[in-house]
Subunit: 243 residues, 2 copies
Amino acid sequence: MEAPQQHLQGFITTFGVTQGFGAVTVILVTVWAGHYRGGFTWRSNPDIEFNWHPVLMTLGMIFLYANSIMVYRAFRNNRKRRLKLVHMLTHVVAFIVVIIGLVAVFDSHNLHNPPLPNLYSLHSWIGLSSVILFACQWVSGFITFFFPGLQSPLRAAYMPVHVFFGLAGFISAVTAALLGLTEKALWTLKEDYGKLPTEAIMINFIGALLVAFAGLVIYLVTEPRFKRQPLPEDEMLLTSGLE
Amino acid sequence: MEAPQQHLQGFITTFGVTQGFGAVTVILVTVWAGHYRGGFTWRSNPDIEFNWHPVLMTLGMIFLYANSIMVYRAFRNNRKRRLKLVHMLTHVVAFIVVIIGLVAVFDSHNLHNPPLPNLYSLHSWIGLSSVILFACQWVSGFITFFFPGLQSPLRAAYMPVHVFFGLAGFISAVTAALLGLTEKALWTLKEDYGKLPTEAIMINFIGALLVAFAGLVIYLVTEPRFKRQPLPEDEMLLTSGLE
């Protein structure tokens, strides 16, 4: 299949707006947890330790995850090899952040007096599935494209699967975040949610930003004319066996 | 750009499984509302009138919406003109179903004693946005492809926008459904949600089915090798001016 024409009109602006939305989302989640939900401690106060959960999951499973996906389009003039390395390492950082975010929520349930049950809600089912999918994608991506690094036809066959489940995991993560926001709004604000106090508006606004961010990321990484075209060096790397 | 090779291996099976998941989801939502949430009435009992909302929104915004999108791939050997008509009319039916589903939820809030506030939750914001997007898509699709029917280059330019926002609206609708399930679980089951009674498992299972259905639908309509190839008649219709 012939490669679509690369045509970058509007790319920089859209990419900038997307980064802005993503950054503002992470900042607002942090402000919400810090200001309305009591701030940040670790195990000394498990109820407040919880607050790391939304902040770190938004940072890891949404902002870093998205930036890792977008790296091929943002730095299109770099060698493929370097972009793959950045893609893989961003996911490593994201995964560490995510693990700490998961410890925070399990702690906040297990160290609560009396302990709260874990993993019963739709939020937890979809959220945990996204993290597991993310981990599987990392391992299979590493094996296929890094070490041992499979033969070209196998890489080519796996690539669309990797891309599909990469985007599916990202959309699931955003969905899980929206479910988490809804859970927290209903548990903490209860009937007051309907009166739309400042915190409720903030929660909904974070949700709306998440949707806008996700929509823009998906647009940026699926729009054919923004697709990175192989550089001459990519071919050389392939044929020289140095990749 | 050259058209990708049509290659239908696995299509029928995947399509059948997808339809099965979709149908079971609609049935389970109906059983849940009918059995656990008190059945179906209209304005005589607004609390129970509510139950039409999840059933009709799942039927209209998810099952019919998905089938309308998939019609080009399911009936690929039919003329484009007929498929467009089925696509448009399925959306009309879906929209009628959705309007009744929306009346049910507004009634259940407005006729409640005392009345409950409307449109405050993330579920309602994302859900209503999906319905508005759906309506805008219908109108712009109708104007572009039916009446008055724009010139070929304008149609071609609008097509990817129509496809992108079509899928975005579908994903938003599924997300709104998951948020709605979470809201209902928390309002009605409260702390019992954590003990995972039968109703909670049913709610989560409906959520998992929705995710699986959405994933399969998106796969079926984005996989390049399942794309419908133009028939000779499509060209004739274009050139003979009869389209």
